[in-house]
């Protein structure tokens, strides 16, 4: 951890807190029916996105999943535009057309969340091709879940990226559950990282509850990709604290598993305690930071509440033009 500056550690803690608090708030507003449709909270997995995105430069790309808010925030997405999108407002990232699963930000190199499990995997091949053709040393992180690792696209994408030595970092967020299907029962070999061997690319596991471990693992893969060596596969061992969505009580999990994870592998709690112990930050400073974040989320909610609905006429006009 020597080379990770104090400022960077504080930034990591801040981003993790941002995602945790933002997600908690979205669940609240989902329960109040301000947000509807599907919502897939990232609570518990924050260290994966934050550790990974901290290893990127601004111009690098990411491509995300249905559980994508954390990735977007880690890459620097705007709270206002995110919340407004979740509220279905015209000022949202997608003008109210996309909702939770389709947030994208071209300026941040955020190529979009995805409603299809594994949908982003083939697209990462294309972004990788363009990074390679461009020769500017850009890379792309492709986030996907343990469910997607069992989909055929996983093979096509990793094979083609490996064949062409594309600068793609494949991060499998293994949170153990694809909706209700447990990875222990669905991943043959029970080792997603080991599948890298078949493609002749580096593959390793990283503790997804430890932001520093994630950062170091991803930094290594980013460096490898920037040097033109091709893709890597990182299996982030993480855990979804909540159910698949806010109304899922997650009864398919063994008793005590979630409680144990929350108690022992809470990336926010553990990292905060560590930074206090290491005297990187004080409890008071953390409280200040948290208050600041809450204020920004309050502002985002206010912005979303006060934003206009999309205009039906404008929408229909667009439909007519695109016949």
């Amino acid at each position: 951890m020597g080379k990770i500056s104090k400022e960077m550690q504080i930034e990591m803690l801040k981003k993790i807190t941002e995602i945790r608090r933002f997600e908690e708030r979205t669940v609240q507003y989902y329960q109040k029916s301000k947000i509807w449709g599907y919502l897939h909270p990232y609570i518990g997995e924050e260290a994966v996105a934050v550790g990974a995105c901290m290893a990127l430069k601004k111009e690098d790309y990411i491509i995300s999943t249905h559980r994508g808010h954390g990735h977007a925030i880690a890459k620097g997405a705007d709270f206002n535009k995110m919340m407004a999108e979740l509220f279905g407002k015209s000022t949202g990232y997608c003008k109210g057309r996309g909702g939770s699963m389709h947030i994208a930000d071209t300026e941040l190199g955020m190529l979009g969340a995805n409603g299809i499990v594994g949908g982003g995997l083939p697209i990462s091949v294309g972004a990788g091709l363009s990074c390679k053709m461009e020769k500017k040393g850009r890379v792309i992180i492709c986030f996907f879940g343990d469910g997607a690792a069992n989909n055929g696209v996983f093979h096509e994408a990793l094979n083609m990226s490996a064949v062409f030595k594309l600068p793609v970092i494949y991060i499998c967020e293994n949170n153990l559950y694809a909706i209700s299907m447990c990875a222990r029962e669905s991943v043959a070999g029970n080792d997603i990282a080991a599948r890298a061997k078949g493609y002749g690319i580096p593959g390793y596991k990283a503790d997804g509850s430890d932001v520093i471990a994630m950062y170091e693992a991803v930094e290594k893969a980013v460096d490898y990709a920037r040097k033109g060596n091709g893709p890597s596969l990182i299996e982030a061992e993480t855990y979804r604290f909540l159910g698949h969505h806010p109304n899922d009580p997650a009864l398919y999990r063994p008793k005590g598993e979630a409680e144990d994870e929350k108690k022992n592998r809470d990336c926010l709690k553990n990292f905060k305690e560590k930074l206090i112990e290491d005297k990187v930050i004080t409890e008071e400073q953390f409280s200040e930071m948290e208050k600041e974040i809450e204020k920004r989320i309050d502002a985002a909610v206010e912005f979303a509440e006060n934003s206009p609905e999309p205009e039906l006429d404008k929408f229909l006009e667009r439909v007519a033009i695109n016949q």
Binding site: Y61, C94, T106, L111, L129, S130, E156, M160
Partner: protein, 323 residues
Amino acid sequence: MREIEYREAIKEACIEEMDRNPKVFLLGEDIGVYGGAFRAYKGLLEKYGPERVVNTPISEQAILGGAIGAALTGYRPVAEIMFVDFCTLAMDQIVNQAAKINFMTGDALHVPMVLRTQGGSGTGIAAQHSQSLESWFYHIPGLKVVMPATPYDVKGLLKTAIRDNDPVIFIEHKTIYLNKGPVPEEEYTIPFGVADIKREGSDVTIFAYSAMLLKALAAAEELAREGISCEVIDPRTLVPLDTDALINSVKKTNKLIVVSEAVERGSVASDILAIVNDKAFDFLDAPVKRVCGLNSAIPYNSKLEKACVPTKENIMQAVKGML
């Protein structure tokens, strides 16, 4: 004017667009030294090298995802899927991704890609290599569908497709690659949504596209000798569709026959009927007639294969039955 083959016209379009814009590149199966299944790309690997003529593994999802990802990050890929039948392997990338990304992201992202493929029967390669699946793509908002029948049209329309900012499904026909036709030396493009009256006439309008256009023209030629005057209209692009040209022709002849090789049930031809019913019912002197493929898979045996798709004689018969 000089005459060149349909496939040469495709190659010329690619060369002109690749020379015009360094962001244009080709990808697909067997498009390297092999030059593509129909040799449309012969010599292009030598001319542009493997970075712009990307010879891929047999991975339809990764090919189209490759195109989408590159398109999202500043390139203009032309992805080849060897047979339209193989698009079935990658329908998620076409339907859920390419067609919807611009819409879902509130117009933040564009997918300027071309999917070049070919379909149709007539070469004895049976049910999995002979389909006409244009109605699948026609049905999906967000996709443009182009089906050129002549060397002139294929060149001008492919150039337009490559310059388009949204995904274009470009469907050629496997039996017409060696057909020769006039193509000017000078550069030209053909706008989408502009039908071409391939033959003027006054008794009946025949609406036909792709290889069926050629059969319709042959039928019209023979009918002319019998004193029957057919107007043959080629939409060239099914989406966008030049409805005005179709309606104007119907107003002139008051009779319409729609010819298509595709299975009749749920076809583009059926939709043309509905459009004419809506917009020109009062001008019709007879019910619109469809001359389409049988509701069957394509068989291997040549006699049976021919029986599944419209012939010149079928078209002539339909015309005579209407007078």
